[in-house]
Amino acid sequence: MSAPALEVQDIVKRFSHGAETVTAVDRVSFSVAPGEVLAIIGPSGCGKSTLFNVIGGLIDGYDGRVLVEGETVAGPHAAIGMVFQDESTFPWRTVEDNVAFPLEIAGVAREERLRRAREYVSLVGLAGFERHHPAQLSGGMRQRVAIARTLASRPKILLMDEPFAALDEQTRFLLGDKVLQIQQQLKQTTLLVTHNIAEAVQLADRVLVMTYRPGRVKRIAKIALPRPRSSAVASGAEFGRYVAEIWSDLRDEASRGMQDDESHLKAG
């Protein structure tokens, strides 16, 4: 078996609010093989986004290590490309200029970076929209621009934080198809953070289920659905079985989260 593309070792992240200290993520460890898609799923408040920010290098002050191909990384790293949950395209740039952004930062000449940007625009299925501005696109198209922009930096690991959370169910499935197609084509190692079970099963090779606060690894489920895959798998019995299995893992955690929220509201 090849060496992991990404290793997360014993990550612990605590936040202090006055005298109170909350452990958001507690001794989380896992690895992702090259070309693999790992989905991290958990209820709201389980520390998924904290973990995303730790791995992406956007927050520090944590215990444990993040390794890319065996090398410890601290802070944002060129090997890790991030796609955010919130709309993150630059509204003042055209689609191709958005996608060319990391190449511009890397000092690639304008002609060359636009040529490469157009390749990625085409890869995410937006050929013909190169000169459009984000305001002229739908939410799903804008998220594809954000994915293309991250891919244009040629990261070893694609880190996505609930990239389709703001989209409707149908668009979400179709964009899932697009991600599967890109993943198939680029053999891109991907770490997907999500709270959507169907999305996790549709896209991932393995699903890591997290506990509610503090976020710990509850179980890692292998998704043995065949590849190449598409949203058509959602109609199969096996897909339903995986969804049910993960939901049974998540149910207690989600209930705990809900009770915790309610007790906070009562107290507050």
Partner: protein, 253 residues
Amino acid sequence: MSESRASAFTPIAAGLATVAGVLALVEAMIHAGWINRFVVPLPSAVLASFGRVIAEENVLWRTLYTGMEALAAGVMAALVGGAIGALLTRRRVLRLATETWVAAIAAAPIVLIYPLFLVVFGRNASTIVMIGFVAGLPPVILKTVEGLSGTRRVLIDVGRSFKLTTVQEFWKIRFPAALPTIFVGFRLGIMFALINIVGVEYLINFGGLGQLVNELAERYDLPAMYAAIFFVVLVSVVFFLVTERVERWLASR
């Protein structure tokens, strides 16, 4: 004419028609004796005075003079106000200490301190430009702070994920994201500057259109005075259109 061109001209035509309608109404009210013609001249008399104002009062040169003063004040306000705004965004304590004062200055009648400026700079264009500059500064500062500090967190995170330096983050993300808000401040600043410039020209009887308005008012030539005021409005419209173009150009960089 294509449908899109026709629809582009519709608002302009509707605007001109509204102005013409209001002027016709004022004309009718003056003729009917509802408005005193010695206070408000007939719009037709104002229109008729344009040729005289252009030929005899050198109004085009005066328009250019006032326009250049406003441009100088506006550019200075944009550069200095933008820099101060950027500094206040980065230094929170400084911002908290000064923001209320800057807002208070924005509401103050700056034009009334012209005697001080006369003492410092003399009765010349420097006094006029400096008062315009001081008047134009607060909106530029306030809107620059608002724009730069209002950049969405996720855009900053995108920059961080691509390992941008602080300078790159400012020029590639914070500044373009803030540009629409900064330009609102710049437009307000240049309008504040223009109002104060014309006001000081009027008060010290020096310079371009303000001085002309003063002289025509002294002569009680009301139609010509209103014609001169039209040129003040024209300067304002030109600045609005030019800043809009500059904003679009900068946004596409």
